[in-house]
Amino acid sequence: MLQVEDIHISFGVLKALNGVSLEIHKGEILAIIGPNGAGKTSLVNVINGVYSPAQGHIFFEDKDLTIMPHHNIAALGIARTFQNVALFKGMTVLDNIMVGRNLKMRSNFFAQGIYWGFAQREEIRHREVVERVIDWLEIEHIRKTPAGMLPYGLQKRVELGRALAAEPKLLLLDEPMAGMNLEEKEDIARFILDANEELETTIALIEHDMGVVMDISDRVVVLDYGDKIGEGTPGEIRNNAKVIKAYLGTAALK
């Protein structure tokens, strides 16, 4: 579904990605792991269009993402969440998730201004979809709360909702469980698995919690200082010597 070919990107003198290539298969859950600074977020940022790579291409369903205007990439069906929650703090939860539907709304400027008729029906239609997402994520009770006032865990969930509302084919999650306790992590893990099975969303996630990674992912890719040092099923990665040395540590062998 997604082919990343030989991506290079630098920030000043820091080479974040050094010729990374990988594939994401349709319908799978792929985990991207590695020590801090390995380039994981940079990779996702490049896929998404936040950065343009110095070299290399990315093909999503045979379309080259690296040559497109950045805001068109989302329209292809790629959504993501951010490492440092990127919610729109001044808007309510409902509005935040409705923004996720923006791409699918068709009414033009004048129709919106008049509202009555086409625009209103469209708003209601999309509102129904969003409410379904809200129900699914069990956040009905905070619908009208400004996102900036929510506790961190709920903010992450809302962000997930915003990404899901876009009904993406590919969902990129950047540390969706950072800073959560065990119970919250189990909740999010459940949502990820459900999204993958029920909604048939392909998922790529960056994660540090090895327990989660080993449990829910189909395949794992390991990055270290801008290079890909391992790729395979969780079982294979766990026993990969290079990965152990760079990241996992020998305790993982037990």
Partner: protein
Amino acid sequence: MIYRECGMFKATYGADMAIFPIPLDRWGIIFILIVAFIGMPFLASDYWLSSILIPFLVFSLAALGLNFLTGYAGQLSLGHAAFMAVGAYTSLILYGRYDVPLLLSLLGGGLVAAAVGAVFGIPSLRIKGFYLAVSSLAAQFIIEWVLTHWKWVSGGVFGTVDTPPMEVFGWPIDTAAKKYYLVLCFVVLLTIFGKNLVRGQLGRAWMAIRDMDVAAEIIGISLFRHKLLAFAVSSFYAGVAGGLIAFTYYGAANIEAFNLMVSFHLLGMIIIGGMGSVLGSFFGGGFITLLPIFINQFSRSFGAVLKSDLLACIELIIFGGLIIFFLIVEPYGLARLWQTLKDKLRLWPFPY
């Protein structure tokens, strides 16, 4: 117990998303509209109509435009009065020189202002924050210069163009009441349109850009289109307001009426009234219009008749002081205070 929300179950999403979901709000607005359309011309004196209500409505409209740009889309504009000037001069030229019907001239003024606004919005695609704020000042100075030096526009040495007598579809608009109606109709229609814009897709896109534009772009919101649209729409409103005020209040288009201080006043209006709020624009407009009157009345009740100089100074002090006060205490302005009041009323007489 009058103003309550319990028992008001909204059966459809449509009802939940209405502009005034609470019935008392709805009745309140209908009442205000009835008073505005029917009551005012009979109850209010000519002085009130032409010196208070008309400027109030017009400045609220301009403030609403600025609110779209700064309050919703987060792009600071320090030179917004210049776009009012563009609208004023354009509508006057269309009506006075080319005999375009009045209503179309006013809209034309808005459209030209929108185009100019979009051009000055181009820097916002590359420049951010403080640098953008100062660039917006460029609009004020450049437009001022163009309007006064371009002979085709200004026609005269001092850049003033007088308004010819107005008429719509053959009806002369010569009394204060008729001018008031003209302004009222424009303002009400444009406000409804604007409110619809901000509660839908466009408003959300703008707020997303305001809160975090990188994320907005990733979600698929084109920064280019939406930022320029914000500049265009807000300048349209400013342009129409400029045309209206030139015709119905000043009787002429004079660049001095749209100088830098007016731009700052507009900004102060939305800060005090409430940024990101349609209602707030009206609170701000009302505040600016009524402030000098209050000060005058207030001081008169102490037997002091103030020179206009001193009056202006006191205005400045209160205006500046209130801007600071609101920023510290209630950054969302009077509109938020009003909202809080209503929220408390909803539970009244219960404490919580």
